[in-house]
Amino acid sequence: MDLDVSDLSQNMLSAALGAAKGHAADLESYLKARAHLIADGTVQIGKDRLAGVITDDDVKFAFEQIKESEATSLLAIEVTVKAAAQDAINAALAVAAGAINKAIGFALL
């Protein structure tokens, strides 16, 4: 039995997009949480400095630490994108394997 390229490619694409969707939602939540955390921290830096609880040196240190955290954020985004790509590819391959099994009439893959 032959496989239909058009149907198979459409099913593979649907599976791949479905697999990546969850990661995309996680990434959005993460970026929102990060923006909120930094905004909140920045307000707190201003408040503490005005209240004299921290010094100018502390403000510079705190801001430098925020800048340093950008590198780790980039790593988090990188891993999330890789995981999404991995799941999308494997989902599409599972559809292809299922189509092959169906075509030959037994579970070879």
Binding site: D2, D26, Q44, D87, N90, G98
Partner: protein, 147 residues
Amino acid sequence: MKQFGLQLVLPLALLLAGCSFVSPYDETTDRLLTDLSVKTQTAIAAADAGQLSVADREKFFSEAIGTLETIKARATLLNVSNKNQEEISAIEQLEQRYRDLQQHGGSPRTSLTTGLRATLLALQQIEIAKKRSSVFSAGLKKSTSTQ
């Protein structure tokens, strides 16, 4: 309508089967990071309230750095084919944030720990991505085996 024979699709599927770009999810690492996050937030709340003594502060930093060394050792064991390198780098960067804060001195107040908390959040996102992928892969294997 275009059609392919099995002789073209089969080798391709076998060649690409089980594609992996990130190392597997490790539940212990995730749990240790969550514990570290709780301890960090607790220490920050105590510092904001002026209730974190110098001794408590030093104990907090020692335990945080010790926890991260443990997590790094596990992450290194899982670094097959360099697929866990991003997580190892993230752990090292988080450890550096704790060391910077310890060396800067003073109490770890909310205002001074924004960079540290943002770094911790990034590492937690790495665990979330790995966990989602792990759950997805398990579901995929289950559905493939029952076809």
